[in-house]
Assembly symmetry: C2
Homo-oligomer: 236 residues x 2
């Protein structure tokens, strides 16, 4: 059977929020509880994240294992606001918590300001967790799971940074016409950024893309204004 | 004439974001540029803030000087999303930047996640700043300013904290039906909070109130889930 483990959220002491101490300590605790990588004590990890981007409810794939794909297809069949994003980059090690085990996924929810709660998003996230646990229980009980394909997957292509000057300082922001339009088509010639002097910067590549993580506040310092994806429809 | 001063935003060095050093240093610099309180070098201060609450564009009054009230009435006549909030508490010293001079106000804009920018809100804030500067210029040139009364003012009544346990830890969140409903009526019997065990907490006082700063992320640690106000319509 697929075994899982829940990790309770903890309040981060104010003094540790910035120096990285908390995150380091917590990472070691989690590794001890769930690890080691490649030989994990649990089969399935559900990793919960929030974002200030308008991501709705995004299932982020750990890997392309059929169990995970079928689960993602099932969860995304429940609601059009549940979408599936694959940030898997071939040949690149996955360093996220969810990579400790082979089964599992991340649920990324937004828009929410960091360190706050929104009731409706909280309730919907809870419902997705329950749906996931029910799915695993059915699987462990050998129940035939209904086919919920086709599955739409948004595949990571690359990141795009904000316009910046030579010193790396911000010179613009997401264009008002793109703000909040995660998972919607961005076509050649569409507005992408608005600089502080009022100039519009357009998307100039040849292929249509589907941006996600648009204006995620934690990514300003990582040089990421959005992630571009391409859309794939998996029929089985 | 009314004289003003602009203060350029500065990037906060990462190492100073949490220890308070930056804010203290900056407060001293600003006090030196604009102060001292009660004998300020400038007549008018426009203080810009952002919030994660759904506040739209809120003019926060410094005091009840007729110049400020007329300016607020003018700005709120431009757009129904521009509202006027008075946090003045009789007998209590105002410690905000905007209190350094007698004329001026704060413009509080949202919803935006802290430390991020939203193009549409940025542009609208710029337009409000320009409208304010034009208003001051007209005043200084002795132009007759049109009467834009009645003016609706939301007066601070009190703050309400989130449900918490005896250790002060959060036990619930803003009720989904109240989230984002800043400046809308909260009537006796309306849902206010949803606890983590699924219990709804209702507003149980007798008077209708108009909550603002609902779910402002920086106020969790201040024990403020929202500020209740009462609505006043000033006819002159």
């Amino acid at each position: 059977p697929v075994t899982g483990c829940t990790i309770s959220p903890k309040t981060i002491p104010a003094k540790n929020r910035c120096d990285g101490t908390y995150e380091q300590t917590r990472a070691k605790e989690i590794a001890q509880t769930l690890g080691p990588k490649g030989n994990s004590k649990v089969d399935f990890i559900l990793d919960l994240h929030s974002t200030s981007a308008n991501m709705g409810f995004t299932i982020i794939l750990v890997n392309n294992d059929p169990f995970n794909l079928q689960l993602a297809a099932y969860l995304s069949s429940l609601d059009p606001l549940v979408r599936v994003y694959s940030s898997i980059e071939p040949g690149k090690e996955n360093t996220f918590l969810r990579s400790l085990s082979n089964f599992g996924c991340c649920i990324e929810v937004g828009p929410i300001a960091p360190a706050s709660l929104k009731g409706a998003i909280f309730q919907k996230t809870e419902a997705l967790i329950h749906a996931t646990l029910d799915y695993i229980e059915d699987y462990n009980n050998g129940k035939l799971l209904s086919n919920t394909y086709p599955l739409t997957i948004y595949h990571y292509l690359k990141v795009v940074d904000y316009p910046r000057n030579e010193a790396g300082e911000l010179e613009g922001m997401i264009h008002p016409q793109l703000q909040g339009r995660d998972y919607q088509e961005l076509n050649p010639g569409d507005p992408m950024f608005l600089t502080f002097d009022g100039t519009t910067i357009y998307y100039e590549e040849e292929a249509t893309v589907w941006p996600v993580f648009i204006n995620e506040v934690a990514y300003y310092e990582k040089g990421v204004a959005m992630c571009l994806t391409k859309k794939e429809i998996v029929r089985e």
